[in-house]
Amino acid sequence: MFRVSKSFFPLPSARMGTAALLLAPVAIALLAACTPDNAQSTFGTAGPIAEDQANLFKFIFWIAAVVFVLVEGAVIYAAIRYRRRSDSDKLPYQTHGNTKLEITWTIVPAIILIGVAIPTLAQIWGQQSGVPDDLGEVLNVEAIGHQWWFEFRYPDHEVITANELHIPVGRPISFKIVSQDVVHSFWVPKIAGKVDMVPLNDNFMWMIGSEVGTFYGQCAEFCGIAHAHMRFRVIVQTEEDFQAWLDGMHTAPDAPAPGSPEAAGQQLFAANCSTCHTNNSTSPGSYAQEINTQQARWNGWISDTENSLIVSAPNLTNFGDHITLGAGLKDLNQDSLVAWITDPSSIKIGTRMQKHAAIYRTPDGELRPDGKPGLSESEISDIATYLLSLKPGSGSGDDTADSPDSGSVDGAAVFATNCTGCHSTGDDTKIGPGLAGVGERAASRVQGLSADEYIEQSIREPGASIVPGFNNLMPPWGHLGDDKIDALVTYLKTLK
């Protein structure tokens, strides 16, 4: 037995205690309502859309509050005033009703509801039927939901980024809201209410960010195991900063100094990560290419959701400029990035990266038992260092080798960037077969196909003929484009 001392838990009387308990939720509620500073508070608005929505809510709330007080007051009053005193079983007047009263309390609420409906309808048409013409130049953005991250495309500026949406302050942004897989919801509480991202049903919304700053967004529709971790940031910038950012997205980083960790990381990234992550969408034409690539990655995943070695993944162009990691989960720095690469699930349970990326699998295609990638700690650190170094460079260091416009494509470079994750140039098996001597073998593999045709088919449709002893894990690579594939075939035939 123990007693709670009175000074510790002062309750003057039982009745007061009950009253305090009843009032507690109300008090807490009112206190909580005064927290517009919270990251996703719908009251601390930073844009006209959210502000109007909050105002409409407050308008209805105060009407409801009046009704609430009247109704609850009547309930409590009736219960107390007309409670039975002593044990009298006196019969009250057995009234059957009152038609005038009934008509009154049918019409009065109806009038109140009309009063609520009029501003509501006005706001629906104001917010949902297109961007008003008089608000200035509209910026078009496509927001795409993926399990479990957001992709943002600026079609007018040919820029793609992920999880961090940059918008200029005060300008109307018109969104095309798209989902690639399941239903998500696009929501930046302080700037605008949510709109669902529904596959096959592209939606529209618009918003204006009226304050410079970084705002939180989050997926609001249950979308699977990592729903809680599907977040993003909206970075509202001045017009100049925004233009600078756009220019930066078209400026390749400076090439790393040979022998530096960045250079090592670049090689490792190209070999192990670039199947799913593009990190160089800076050159002209790369926008269209990335859209195709992203689609091809997704097609590869959906064709074999369990064993696919490819998934759609965030574009990491100029990743060093990002402020968060893992769809808005952690602040981005060397430590968090190393932790992420080492064990993504420790930060974001359910992420597709660990399940599908080849680097987390053994050569047999099985998941590695420890869940860690097949890289040393220093290699992981190099990759992280490299990624953090991805910032707009001086503008002279364009890596033209990857540009689809360049006249000559280096097959070896294409191979290093795209294939070395699974294929060695020797005889050894990484995940796919080693490719030494493939040119000789290819000619005799399938009746009626020359070596060129066979290799090209194996790149475009890997499932068409599988080398005995291997599973069909390879995604189709047709999205590389004819030039690169031709170069690749030429290069592969040189391997001895």
């Binding site: 018109s174 095309k176 529904v198 592209d202 939606n203 529209f204």
Partner: protein
């Protein structure tokens, strides 16, 4: 016209808030078959006055013939292929006629307790209006601006 409408909607069932009766609780008038005299008049009375007379085989054969003819007409309209925008409304009208004929005469709603009609009609009304609304939403909703 109004007179015909009244005749067609005439129903001798009682209001169901109290205790309506079925037609079966009253003796049927003797059946006058197709050869028994004024059978066309009898059929007309069946259609217009519901439960006053129970229908007989002749009447059922006539309804069956009606159903067959309408079906034939529908298929003919299909092969015609020249009705344009009228095609669907006409077909819907024809199938509604078949629908009503089966429900009213084969399922005896014309002769039976009114409550059955209420129940079936209520669910048809709720179903049709709700699903039509759904079709409207699916047709015109989800438009990207």
């Amino acid at each position: 016209m109004a007179n015909l409408w009244r005749k067609l909607t005439y129903h001798r069932g009682n209001g169901w808030w109290n205790l309506p009766h079925t037609a079966s609780q009253e003796a049927d008038p003797p059946y006058e078959g197709p050869i028994g005299g004024a059978w066309l008049g009898n059929i007309w009375r069946t259609v217009t006055h519901g439960g006053v007379s129970h229908a007989g085989p002749g009447f059922y054969w006539l309804v069956g013939l009606f159903l067959g003819v309408i079906t034939l007409l529908e298929v003919w309209l299909f092969t015609l292929q020249g009705l344009g925008g009228l095609y669907i409304p006409i077909l819907l009208g024809l199938s509604t006629m078949k629908f009503v004929a089966v429900v009213a005469f084969f399922m005896h709603l014309r002769f039976d307790g009114r409550l059955f009609t209420y129940i079936f009609a209520a669910s048809m009304i709720i179903g049709i209006s709700m699903f039509s609304l759904l079709l409207l939403l699916q047709q015109f909703g989800n438009q990207v601006q």
